[in-house]
């Protein structure tokens, strides 16, 4: 008779069986996750590219597209300010991504290369910044930006978005720079390069996977943002796509078809990034990892 007990897997089941079990588990997990991740995206696309009357025909949702229609997109592009909102989103996302990355590279470099009092404190403060519920910060930030005369400016929204992403990007670059050997810089110094020049010639190129990851993260934060844009922007022509969409989508004449079409448009930049830059992302987390 078979005996099952402690260590049975190790002792009695052959390596081949174990490998087979493992293989099956691997494939099953992969499939499950793939399905879990894909289905909502597919549903979004399916609803977006059908006219509402064919998507909902007969009282059930048609997921199998048999007649393509760009009616939903036409409504978005002609009857709403979607293009303008998109433009705004791209402007602030790009500038916040840039700013957040620059700040992270600077702070990450400083944290790993200089020793000064208050360094640990500062590093911790970065983490503690995330502990304050951001909802109530809307009012103080509004007051501050108002006082500075910065409401309805790309600049203020860029600052606000960077505030959300910077703690994490700083942390990421801090990690990353710890894996960049200081000997690379020293070797440049010995060969006559100033510290500043060394940063351009050596540090930045070597840290590229790190800051690309940081940039992708801050992109995600900025593109995702709703709250900060709501705080800073109060004019229709300055709204970002998420705020703008939330406004026009609650109109009486807008339904799920347009909603999904808007979602699809919003999803295009993230999709491109996922497709083209994910290798960098992995490298960034990899070397930058949590060593």
């Amino acid at each position: 008779m078979f005996e099952f007990g402690e260590g049975a897997a190790g002792s009695y089941v052959s390596q081949a069986t174990q490998q087979r079990v493992k293989r099956t588990a691997v494939v099953l997990t992969a499939l499950l996750v793939a399905v879990f991740v894909t289905i909502p995206v597919y549903v979004m696309i399916a609803i977006a590219v059908q006219s509402p009357s064919s998507a909902f025909a007969g009282g059930s949702v048609q997921l199998f597209v048999d007649s393509l229609s760009f009616e939903n997109f036409r409504v978005l592009l002609t009857e709403t300010s979607t293009p303008r909102y998109f433009f705004n989103s791209i402007v602030v996302t790009a500038s916040s991504t840039f700013l957040s990355t620059v700040i992270a590279v600077a702070a990450g470099y400083g944290l790993t290369r200089f020793d000064f009092t208050g360094k640990t404190l500062m590093a911790r403060a970065v983490l503690f910044a995330y502990m304050f519920s951001p909802i109530v910060l809307a009012i103080p930030l509004y007051v501050i930006f108002y006082t500075l005369g910065l409401l309805n400016s790309y600049f203020a929204l860029t600052l606000a978005l960077t505030a959300i992403s910077a703690p994490f990007t700083i942390w990421l670059m801090w990690q990353y720079f710890q894996t960049v050997p200081i000997a690379l810089e020293e070797s440049a110094w010995v060969r006559g390069a100033s510290r500043t020049r060394t940063i351009w010639d050596v540090v930045l190129p070597v840290a590229r996977p790190g800051y690309i990851s940081a940039a992708i993260f801050s992109f995600a934060v900025s593109w995702n943002d709703f709250t900060m844009a709501r705080v800073v922007m109060s004019q229709d022509e300055m709204y970002t796509i998420t705020v703008g969409a939330s406004l026009f989508l609650d109109r009486v004449s807008i339904g799920w078809g347009e909603t999904m079409a808007a979602s699809l448009l919003i999803a295009i930049p993230p999709f491109c990034i996922a497709l083209f830059l994910q290798n960098y992302l992995l490298q960034g987390f990899n070397v930058g990892g949590l060593e």
Binding site: V37, P40, I103, G110, F128, T162, I266, A274, L281
Partner: protein, 303 residues
């Protein structure tokens, strides 16, 4: 040898060093002062006033006392903990599972990787549109198929049923945030020396044993950090819950951030809202300090 230079400095180099030091920290510090420190202090200041945005009157810690003794507080706190813990742990498990899979170099692993990062980059608004649509009792495809296949007799309104609302919100959260853990863990997995596994196999360890004794210990640091950072983020998560259930039904998904919002904007009690935010901040800080003491995740971070 230490990378950090010593107490005495050369004059010429000193200037450039000081310049770089200032260049790397002053903007960052100033920036943080404006966009984090000032608003936080401002909010904490407001928490000491009644009607701080109107005819403010100083009430000391009365707002704090009111919040802590209010009937709903324990329930909202519990909801927050349930939401933060379950969504963090589940995204960790999903991320870990998938990272292990992709690390096995299965065919299509790269496609999976692309798939995984995509939800993370999508705005919450869009994520919620998707999930509301899928789980909707009327339009939702999930209900449609479950009823069609005879699994359910009648559709379930996932976001508005007492027992389903929280799980539904958690599922949507895990969908969006699973890849955060995935990428960090995958990176760590790929950094493990394959020789260790070879050695374990030679020494007769089973697949499970080598996972337990080699893989897990190597991931420990990453897991600790994910739990901490993600946990804090999820505890303070507002939009995903608000957009999907607004805290309902019957406060089943009313977490502390949702409560902050209700206090601030539907009950127009900004003093109370900021006091609650203050309480949450102190709770998180406390947990973080204990966590730092107990697990020392910083060791994994800073040398």
């Amino acid at each position: 040898m230490s990378a950090v230079t010593s107490v005495r400095h050369r004059v010429a180099d000193m200037d450039e060093r000081r310049f770089l030091l200032l260049a790397t920290f002053v903007p960052v510090a100033g920036f943080f002062a404006v966009v984090w420190l000032a608003p936080i202090l401002y909010a904490l200041g407001m928490s000491l006033f009644d009607n701080p945005t109107g005819a403010a009157s100083f009430v000391g810690v009365a707002n704090y006392a009111d919040i802590l003794t209010s009937v709903g507080f324990p329930k909202y706190l519990w909801n927050s903990v349930v939401y933060a813990v379950s969504s963090t742990v589940l995204s960790l498990l999903v991320g870990l599972g998938l990272a292990l899979v992709v690390n096995q170099q299965v065919r299509g692993g790269n496609a999976l990787r692309t798939l995984m990062i995509f939800p993370y980059l999508l705005p919450t608004l869009v994520v919620i549109f998707m999930w509301k649509f899928i789980l909707d009792p009327n339009l939702g495809v999930l209900n449609q198929y479950l009823v069609q296949w005879g699994v359910l007799e009648s559709p379930i309104a996932f976001f508005s049923t007492l027992q389903w609302a929280m799980p539904a919100v958690v599922v949507a959260s895990v969908w969006k945030f699973g890849s955060f853990a995935f990428f960090i863990l995958l990176a760590r997995l790929q950094a493990i020396d394959p020789n260790l596994y070879e050695r374990a196999r030679v020494e007769g360890a089973s697949t499970w044993q080598s996972f337990r004794d080699i893989t897990l210990p190597h991931l420990r640091g990453a897991i600790l950090i994910i739990l901490l950072v993600r946990g804090i983020w999820m505890f303070n998560k507002f939009d995903i819950i608000f957009l999907s259930t607004r805290g309902g039904p019957l406060e089943a998904t009313t977490t502390l951030p949702i409560r902050v919002y209700q206090l601030a904007f539907s009950e127009v009690n900004f003093g109370g809202a900021t006091a609650l935010a203050g309480i949450m901040f102190f709770l998180l800080a406390l947990v973080a300090v204990v966590y730092f003491r107990a697990f020392e995740p910083e060791k994994e971070v800073a040398n």
